[in-house]
């Protein structure tokens, strides 16, 4: 059976673009910056509506973060945008000192996170960005799962006073969450209730986890699927409640296992109630060139591997 259906597939970055277009009309304090990737970040709508609130920085990401900090000090709500690799790893010191340590109200919004930009290969596929950002004190880290949720998250973070990292991607993926949903930072969403295993997924892996739950159900296994769109602050309550019932779990993310969502969950559980846990993520490797689907299969970021890991977790109960 299908737990969720969808009518269209869209890229999450377009959800970001739609959210920005909304903000151009509804929040005069929001300004947008981009390091020469307007098309990739889907900023055309924002720029069309509010050209005076858009600042091209050129391919100079360090300066873009500093400019954003300065705009935030002056009371603006800057959205600094580029690819995830160049918006996090490349400019870590700028983010650390001028955004996180200074507590400036900067939103770092990055597309092309993870493996799924495909053909461009490892230089453009960052798999460490969640870890880098979640380590910074005060930084909120969000990885929404589809177009609608990305749009909602984009709008919601403007209301949060403080630094935020919002990551999304390029491939078209099923749009299965409600249109015009309200996005609550730090509030996990229980998508499928189950009693045998908990699957905690973020970003593109949420849909794969739903598919995995369908396959597991055919085997008579009831998986609970929870969408952890906010990696930091982590919804500890939702996680603890679920594992208290299922007694085993899988984390699933398009990111290194080191430093990712799974790490955060494991850290929580080892201090409270350690259950058998399996990790779906990239295992200490850089990405490579290929079609997104090929790469997701090779690196085990798909429904089949989630099923396998779920069965393993259950067997370890």
């Amino acid at each position: 059976m299908a737990f969720f259906t969808y009518e269209t597939k869209k890229d999450t970055r377009s959800g970001f673009g739609a959210g920005m277009e909304y903000l151009s009309q509804h929040n005069p304090n929001v300004v947008a910056l981009c390091a020469d990737l307007i098309g990739s970040l889907k900023l055309e709508g924002f720029i069309k509506n509010s050209p005076e609130r858009f600042f091209q920085t050129g391919i100079a990401e360090a300066n873009m973060i500093g400019i954003s900090a300065g705009l935030a000090v002056a009371g603006k709500i800057p959205y600094a945008t580029t690819f995830a690799n160049f918006g996090t790893g490349r400019v870590y010191d700028q983010i650390r000192q001028s955004v996180a340590y200074s507590g400036t109200n900067v939103k770092i919004c990055c597309s092309h996170a993870g493996l799924t930009l495909g053909e461009d290969g490892a230089t453009h596929q960052i798999l460490e960005d969640i870890g880098l950002m979640k380590m910074l004190p005060g930084m909120v880290v969000i990885n929404p799962c589809d177009y609608n949720q990305t749009k909602a998250a984009t709008i919601a973070i403007a209301e949060h006073e403080g630094p935020v990292y919002l990551r999304f991607g390029r491939p078209v993926v099923p749009v299965f969450t409600p249109e015009d949903q309200k996005f609550e930072i730090g509030k996990a969403i229980n998508l499928i209730e189950g009693s045998d295993v908990s699957i905690f997924a973020t970003g593109h892996l949420v849909w794969e986890s739903i598919q995995a739950a369908e396959i597991l159900l055919e085997k008579g296994i009831k998986a609970e699927v929870i969408n952890i769109h906010t990696i930091k602050p982590l919804d500890s309550e939702a996680i603890l409640k679920s594992v208290a019932k299922t007694k085993c779990l899988v984390s699933a993310e398009e990111h290194q296992i080191n430093g990712g969502l799974g790490d955060s969950i494991a850290q929580l559980l080892i201090q409270t109630s350690a259950y058998p846990m399996e990790f779906v993520g990239v295992n200490d490797s850089f990405g490579e060139s290929g079609k997104p689907a090929e790469l997701m299969t090779k690196y085990g970021l798909d429904a089949n591997n989630i099923v396998e890991k779920a069965l393993k977790a259950i067997s370890r109960k």
Binding site: R53, G66, S68, A69, A72, A74, Q97, S98
Partner: protein, 266 residues
Amino acid sequence: MTITQLKEKSKTYRKKILELIFHAKAGHTGGCLSIIDLLNVLYNHVLRIPSPKDPSRDRFIQSKGHAVEALYVVLADQGFFPEEDLKTLGQYQSPYIGHPTKKIPGMEQNTGGLGHGLSICAGNALAAKKDKSDIKVYTILGDGEMAEGSNWEAMMFAAHYKLDNLCGILDYNKLQISGANAQVMGLEPIKQKIESFGWSVKEVDGHNIEELVNTFDQLPFENGKPSFIIAHTVKGKGVSYMENVAKWHHGVPSAEQLEQALAELA
């Protein structure tokens, strides 16, 4: 404030900086003495800061954060916090730490890691332009700091956006922690470099109060262009045994050395 009064202020500030660093047993003595005349003229002649949180205030961010003791002395003198509080400098739980933080009234941003200040100031200046505000934004950069690539990104940006409400100031004492700029990483020809990035540049003696006042009074040097002041300074200025000696970058005077320094500044 008159030129004579400003000159007296510089003397007083120098003594206070030395006493502060001696008391805390830590600080960037050479750089503080190098920028103190710049800070003096900025805070007592140029900047309009009715109070630290006044929205209409001009903004100053010290990009070379390590010379923070000079800024502490000047901000205390502005009455932003009691000078007495500085006795806790560097102590456990004191807000007065070795680099600027926003916790201190009058400090706009956390700095310390180099190459951040110019970008932040450019962002601030851009926001002021968009808001049609007449706020002016100033930063002091270290000469060693100019090797940071982000400064040159900010240079391009500020010229591109015609931020003539922005003023960069180079504390050009020609020495950095490892030695002479020329040996560590040559800056010259710095004036031509900055001009070629689209800024309007003037060179001054960074310890000549009259010259500094006259130069700041000419801002912006050209409409539609950000301004840059290359202030030729002396590391450790005012204390004979510190002047132009790189080891005073992070040196703390002994009791005898302090006594001699204060005598020279009397």
